[in-house]
């Protein structure tokens, strides 16, 4: 099987994970989007062992296969965005298949642009502003629960649902922005393990507390027939960071003990 075919089949197997990373529903990504993504991630035909100045070579697909399933989509997306920005596939030139006529479908294009913005250093600069919004929304939820309105009132249920949606969206935004911060730190030359410690110090440890706080909040709201999985959402955000930290620290340990020499992964 050609590398491109293999990449296409790999990408289509990981459709769900890619959709999740883009924040889109499964039906919002069409097959041609996946083919274009594969083209961006495929070296130019005949250049099986092209010189990878950017540190990516044809073993990329093997690396992808080793990733935990929930991280595959994110990695594919980041590499595709990177390649798209450079206007080339991961090989030296755009394959013919990627002519100007063949663009991502509008929803995917918009979602990719949004992700690109989120990954920039300016994006990290917006994190503190978003934390302010998150805190405001958390306090509003506390006030609503503290107040006298009953869960039997439709207007109260509506308010609760609305504020939960806002908090959920704040958390996602904050997380993308924190990721952008980690990427910025590493690009600026800070080591991956120091970046991990910094992310934990300024952001993640407080999320831990928030997750614990939300367990009884979720329980109360669910008991009143409103779906609320905030604690689970925060835990999955946290778990994902932890998985990456684990790799970073393991890698550092290996390097220190001379077990292997590898480039530090990008967070």
């Amino acid at each position: 099987m050609s590398y491109k075919k293999e990449m296409e089949s790999f990408i289509s197997k990981n459709r769900e994970s890619i959709c999740e990373s883009l924040g889109l529903k499964s039906h919002e990504i069409i097959d041609s989007d996946l083919r274009i993504m594969a083209a961006y991630l495929t070296p130019k035909a005949g250049e099986k062992n092209f010189d990878a100045g950017n540190g990516i070579d044809t073993s990329f697909i093997e690396d992808l296969k080793r990733l935990p399933r929930n991280k595959v989509g994110e990695e594919i997306l980041l590499k595709a965005i990177e390649a798209k920005e450079k206007g080339e596939s991961l090989g030296r030139r755009m394959p013919n298949a990627l002519s100007k006529r063949q663009l991502f479908s509008p929803k995917v294009e918009a979602a990719m642009q949004e992700r690109r913005r989120e990954m920039s250093s300016e994006s990290f600069g917006k994190l503190s502003g978003n934390v302010v919004m998150l805190k405001t929304h958390l306090k509003t939820l506390a006030q609503l629960l503290h107040g006298d309105s009953s869960f039997a009132e439709p207007s109260f249920r509506f308010q609760i649902r609305t504020i939960l949606k806002m908090i959920s969206s704040d958390l996602n935004k904050c997380n993308y922005q924190a990721r952008a911060g980690a990427v910025w730190a590493i690009k600026s030359g800070i080591s991956a393990d120091s970046a991990a410690i910094a992310v934990n110090q300024v952001y993640l440890r407080h999320l831990n507390q928030l997750s614990k706080t939300f367990a009884p909040v979720d329980e109360l709201i669910n008991a009143n027939g409103i779906d609320c999985k905030m604690s689970k959402q925060i835990d999955s955000i946290k778990e994902r960071w932890y998985q990456e930290f684990q790799e970073v620290f393991q890698m550092k340990k290996d390097i220190v003990h001379g077990n292997r020499f590898v480039a530090e992964p990008s967070l």
Partner: protein, 62 residues
Amino acid sequence: MEIDLLLNQASKEDIIEVLRKNATPEQNRFLDVAREVENEMSGIPECCEALDQAVKSRISRP
């Protein structure tokens, strides 16, 4: 979990101050923003407290 242990050990020191020592201007910019984020995030425990109280008050009602 080993990662918790590593992070807890690491957070005994203020990583921002540690990194400041030999920071390039670009790294300093990052560290400034990180400090700003940290300052805002330090308000999260207060929100947690408010949510705790709110849940308790609602549960205690007849």
